[in-house]
């Protein structure tokens, strides 16, 4: 089915009774050319680009629950390319460019909204660091503007500017950043991949690997054995579990991150705002809810729910930055399991086992990476070589010392 303004008009005449499921819920076949484990954003994007860019359509995406039931449907939907380090910035800028063409590419409305992302600074040193990061972004072709307090005031006048302890000294603004509707991104990639013949298999948990002569040649699942010469894993917070089945370990810890949404209010926050003196960031959805979050809880977890100390922490951050939201009621909160890597940056590489490829280590920032992650992972699986913008995301960088540590905190995932 192709979506267009015209198809919406025609359906309206028919009281919208004619809409069909946008992608095919497939039963697994005995074998494929490529299997992708994990029906989150990254797995589905990989399948789409394998089919579209590399012409490999005999592909299955194997998902243990329903697609988007993991972090893809739990994140706070922020997209941006405001990184400092060379290994990262080119990659995230590729992702931003793919976001800009995504809806036309997959023929699906993902509500990509370039409303901007504003990082606030509260000290002179922080402003210097922002100037440096902004320059790095511009050198990589991204957009960045260093705002003074007046510039920030014009954009978001309702902040706590003259706080005695954390006055707002300015901000780094990326106008092309913003948000996208996360589940529409999942459905959009599923739609486009399915149209090209990719099988999307749900309620199918991978429980082991089939091996021949040291390489993996298939997977064991709750719905039987499925063979393939190439298998990619894109299972985010479950990376450790799946790697264990294949017999290797990763530089990854699984941690829980919570998100929050308030009751709907009238339009108030026109961009994405991040606090620089605490752990808090916020935007407003098109439905009116304030969507916000903060730090990971900070201990290993597979529970998909967090604890109250972090809730308190996040709300304190919000109150100190934006006292006006104190009267708004919280509607919902939830948690997702992050694949926290030891340097805070991702891994897109061959695994130690022949035939198996790893896509992992996205920490709390993999939603914005969804298009480029799928693009580069598909390139690796199809050609055997890393895509030129993802060459830094090697698995062996932890041994060679080429870690990409944006925050410079070392191998402490709960501090990233």
């Amino acid at each position: 089915m192709r979506y267009s303004g015209f198809s919406v008009f025609m359906q309206a005449l028919n009281r919208h009774k004619g809409w069909k499921p946008t992608w095919r819920d497939a039963a697994p076949k005995p074998s494929y050319d490529v299997i992708i484990i994990g029906g989150g954003g990254h797995g589905l994007a990989t399948a789409h680009y394998l089919a579209k860019v590399h012409g490999i359509t005999n592909v299955a995406v194997i998902e243990k629950g329903w697609i988007g039931s993991g972090n893809a449907g739990r994140n706070t939907t922020i997209i941006r390319s405001n990184y400092l380090l060379p290994g990262n910035e080119a990659f995230y800028e590729l992702s931003m460019k793919l976001w800009e063409g995504l809806e036309q590419d997959v023929n699906y409305n993902a509500m990509v909204s370039q409303r901007g992302v504003l990082n606030l600074c509260h000290t002179d040193a922080q402003r210097d660091a922002f100037a440096r990061r902004g320059n790095s972004m511009r050198l990589h072709g991204a957009d960045a503007e260093l705002l003074d307090p007046e510039g920030v005031r014009k954009l978001v006048p309702f902040l706590n500017f003259d706080d005695a302890r954390f006055p707002i000294k300015g901000g780094l603004f990326q106008p092309r950043g913003g948000t996208a509707r996360h589940d529409a991104v999942v459905w959009g990639y599923a739609h486009a991949a399915s149209e090209r013949g990719v099988d999307i298999v749900q309620n199918c948990e991978v429980t082991g690997f089939l091996r021949e002569g040291g390489r993996v040649v298939g997977i064991e699942t709750s719905r039987g054995t499925i063979r393939a010469n190439k298998i990619g894993m894109a299972v985010a917070g479950n990376s450790g579990r799946v790697a264990e089945m294949a017999g290797f370990r990763l530089p990854i810890e699984s941690h829980v991150l919570q998100a929050f949404v308030s009751e709907a209010i009238k339009p108030m926050i026109p961009t994405v705002v991040t606090y620089g003196a605490g752990h808090f960031y916020i935007s407003q959805s098109d439905k009116g809810g304030l969507v916000f979050g903060g730090d990971i809880d900070g201990y290993n977890s597979y529970a998909q729910r967090g604890n109250l100390p972090t809730v308190e922490d996040v709300c304190e951050g919000g109150m100190s930055l934006m006292p006006a939201i104190g009267r708004v009621r919280l509607l919902r909160s939830w948690g997702g399991i992050m694949d926290m890597s030891m340097d805070g940056s991702p891994i897109i590489d061959h695994s130690p086992v022949d035939g198996l490829y790893v896509n992992s280590g996205w920490c709390y920032g993999g939603f914005k990476a969804t298009p480029a992650s799928g693009f580069c992972f598909a390139h690796l699986i199809a050609t055997g070589r890393m895509h030129e913008t993802a060459t830094a995301y090697r698995l062996d960088r932890f041994a060679t010392g080429h870690v990409i540590d944006e925050k410079g905190v070392g191998a402490r995932p709960n501090l990233h």
Binding site: G240, R241, L250, N300, S301, F398, A399, R412, N414
Partner: protein, 77 residues
């Protein structure tokens, strides 16, 4: 500031820097994690209490705590 601070997997042992495989051993010790979905032995610091390091057995799937002891076996209190 919370009452307890988390350090991580209690399995960490500093490898012998003189060992012939010291490089691999350090990479393993610093970066590689078992990261189990289930019982995890981990270190917590009781910063706003007795200021001892604790070894806690906790289920990472449920957050249920199955026991704790002083990380330093010589601590008795």
């Amino acid at each position: 500031m919370h009452e307890f601070t988390y350090l991580g997997d209690a399995a960490y042992r500093r490898p012998d820097p003189q060992a012939p495989d010291a490089l691999e051993a350090f990479v393993e010790a610093v970066h590689t994690r078992v990261n189990p979905a289930g019982i995890h032995e981990e270190l917590w610091y009781h910063g706003s209490g007795c200021r001892s390091w604790l070894k806690v057995r906790r289920d990472t799937r449920t957050h249920e705590i199955h026991g704790a002891s002083f990380a330093n076996p010589e601590t008795t209190r």
